[in-house]
């Protein structure tokens, strides 16, 4: 089967989308961006192939064994991938401590690290096996860090090596794990995943077919902040503005205006009926009012990023905040808290300030046409969406607003469509 890859190398995450020749989505992958851009792209690509192969076996396995078995198999696969990464983390930690820790303390540190690793592995197996598991980050780095820190703290409180020593080792080694090539693909881990669920006879055929299916990558296009670093020739690199425009069009064909608020930039894009960009504006000279602004505010208030929106939404009297300078906003936040203003009111005001800045870009790019598609990490924040809807209504009248749960893949999807069109200009 011919397939076409789009990769969006963003400042925070790297996304990949794999398309079939008819333009349908075969698979998607995402990972956190890291210093080794090639590798981030490779990991996202591998993930897209993993989901593509799971897509291929899906119908067969569900028919032969039922939906729960498919879910079970997928979780088993994820467990294998995670254990593989933990194993590499362990190898680095044990190697590093031999060099970094003085001989008189080495045995104690080694014992502590081995203990943490064993518990981490056990916890991971338990988490994947738990039907009531709590939601968490999709990235190994976050999962490993939070588990490691928690266990390390307990170990050190119980008289083990100091927390700083243990964390210092982790910080160095997680970077090594992230930046070394590692096989996390379908073929590598599906046999172990099958064994983990007891190798049921009914799924063997589907798995075998998916494993052996020839997925031939005919073309790939890269985009995003780090696109110049992607291992693609120049003709296969496209601006994220074009890719976002086309991706949004593919998700919602009625789209005429796209707003993307990402970690470090905000883009207002106007597209025609074919998804081709006709005008755009993006933040210049500074990244005030982008996604990172909200991240900073969450840090300042010591709450999680995902808690910001709900808290702001509970406000009845949003504060008037005009500054989108991230640092000034932090100061304003503290001052207003000191004056006794409510957290939710201040937060609602901050969300409005972010959206006001986006409104200015939208106006300069040509306004807000119907339909309007909102993408990027900030589109997941309900308080931001609420502020946006209100301001659009006031300034332009009612517009149909589209937000896809898969909006993070918009740029990668656009890139994949470009990859497909480069080879098959007739497919739309």
């Amino acid at each position: 089967m011919n397939c076409f890859l789009g990769i969006d190398l963003g400042s925070t995450t790297t996304k990949a989308v794999l398309l079939a020749e008819d333009g349908s989505i075969l698979g998607r992958g995402i990972t956190n961006s890291r210093s080794n851009y090639d590798l981030a792209a490779k990991v996202a690509r591998t993930e897209a192939y993993v989901t593509a192969r799971f897509g291929l076996l899906r119908a067969e396995v569900v028919r032969a064994a039922g939906e729960p078995v498919l879910t079970h198999l997928l979780l088993a696969f994820r467990t294998e991938q995670t254990l593989r990464q933990l194993e590499r983390l362990g190898v680095h930690l044990l190697e590093d401590l031999e060099r970094a820790i003085p001989a008189d303390r080495r045995a104690a540190v080694r014992e502590a690290v081995e203990h943490i690793l064993a518990r981490l592995a056990a916890e991971e197996e338990a988490w994947f096996a738990d039907p009531a598991r709590e939601a968490r980050s999709d990235f190994f780095r976050d999962v490993a860090a939070s588990g490691y820190m928690r266990i390390a703290e307990q170990v050190s409180e119980a008289g083990g090596p100091s927390f700083d020593t243990l964390v210092g080792l982790f910080d160095k080694c997680i970077l090594k794990v992230e930046n070394e090539p590692m096989e996390l693909g379908f073929q590598e881990h599906i046999p172990a995943a099958l064994r983990r669920i007891g190798s049921p006879e009914a799924v063997a055929l589907g798995v075998e077919r998916a494993t052996n299916a020839a997925l031939e990558e005919r073309n790939g296009v890269g985009t995003g902040y780090g696109r110049a670093r992607l291992p693609f020739p120049k003709e296969q690199i496209r601006s994220e503005i074009l890719c976002h425009g086309l991706g949004a069009h593919a998700m919602f064909p009625g789209t005429r205006t796209v707003l993307d608020i990402g970690g470090q930039d905000t883009k207002a894009i106007q597209v025609d009926g074919s998804g081709i960009v006709v005008s755009f504006q993006m933040n210049d000279r500074c990244a005030a009012g982008c996604g990172r602004y909200l991240g900073y505010i969450a840090d300042e208030m010591n709450i999680g990023l995902h808690e910001l929106g709900p808290l702001a939404q509970s406000s009845n009297r949003p504060a008037r905040i005009n500054s989108t300078c991230t640092v000034f906003a932090g100061a304003e936040l503290r001052e207003r808290l000191g004056l006794g203003e409510k957290r939710e009111d201040i937060l609602a005001g901050l969300h409005r300030a972010v959206i006001l800045r986006a409104m200015s870009l939208l106006a300069r790019s040509g306004g807000v046409q119907d339909e309007f598609t909102f993408t990027g990490g900030v589109a997941k924040n309900q308080a931001a969406v609420k502020a946006l809807v209100r301001l659009i209504d006031e300034n332009y009248g009612q517009r149909k607003l589209n937000i896809s749960p898969e909006s993070i893949y918009t740029g990668a999807l656009g890139a994949a469509i470009f990859a497909l069109r480069d080879v098959r200009p007739d497919v739309h």
């Binding site: 994220e240 503005i241 074009l242 081709i276 006709v278 993006m282 210049d284 300069r364």
Partner: protein
Amino acid sequence: MLLQKEMIGAHFDRLERAPETGEKVVYTFVPGNLTELIRSFGALPLLPEINALQSGMRQKSRGYIAEAEKLGHSEDVCTYVKCDIGMAKTGNIGPTGTRLPKPDLLLLSYTGCYTFMKWFELLREEYDCPTVFLHVPYQGDGEITPEQREYMVRQLRDTVIPALEQVTGRRYDEDRFKEALRRSGRMEDDLVRVLQSAKRRPSPIDSYFGGVYYIGPIFSSFRGTPEGEEYYRTLREEVDERAALGWGPETPSGRLDRQKYRLVVEGPPNWTSFNDFWKMFSDEGACVVASTYTKVGGTYDLGFRHDAGDPLGTSADYCGGCYTNRNLPGRIDMLVDYVREYAADGFLINSVKSCNSFSAGQLLILREVEKRTGIPGGFIESDLVDPRYFSAANIKNRLESYLQMIDARKAGAAGEVHAK
């Protein structure tokens, strides 16, 4: 290029020696400059904004701006002004490394930019020298009326000429002035021929990045001079020769024969990263075929020529017709004509933070030109000489996105034709 370097070098040497030789120095600005008149009194023109842009190109502006900010000029003040003030306060060493003389006269002959007026107010404070002021009415209705022209002529006759006479101790010599104006007319013919060579495919010149070199002598101190006339004759011959050979312009990416995009550009360039900025264009195969910036010192391609038959009247016409003195509809007309006459694939605005004369209304210009030409416009933002406002990654991203947008639209249009 070598010839230009020699000319400018000799001019600055002469300026440095002026305090000993007794030659008088007149500070004035590019738009509406009265070079022929100044020189007919044997005085030497010196143009502060040219010094500022040169300081930007030589990576000196950051320090000069910091110096001016220390003196109390805010971050929002035009960076040409701050660069000039900072230079004056740190030894006044000019672009060729020579010391610049103090002015004997500040001649403000274009007032459409109010910052110019404030700038000279600061310099007057600094140098305590005579100041003369020619008020040029703005072309609010798209033309200079006979009354406005007469108003300028009267100021030239009654205010500007007497001031020059007083400072230089010479009488107004109309024959000498006319001779220079005749030379100016010939230089202007040559310049227009060079600029219009960009209508060819491939264009033998880049009309923005290369263009700023071509306008250098005529916009600064050499209009109406024998060496200026020689320069433009040589330039015209060189460009004719390149055109005959089918060569593109020399760019930071080499000779650009394969011109993938023909662009019209509005707004001044960025000077602190001039070559990097140009390279972003040339690496993509983008050649600028027409620009408005190359008309700030005169809109010769619209037909104006200095006319020795009416020396004061022609000077008034010249001052009133500079690009930044034109109203928004006039600027839009020019851009629309450029897009059509030069068969451009796109047009791009470089909006600079420092200059309201240029930047105010630019988005409106963009939308209107888009509407009338059917071609999408691009928009990038930077500054003249403050390196803090040149974000290379951001500008490159916008430029590449814009060029790819042109590609996508061309491909889309081709597809539509195909389908029909």
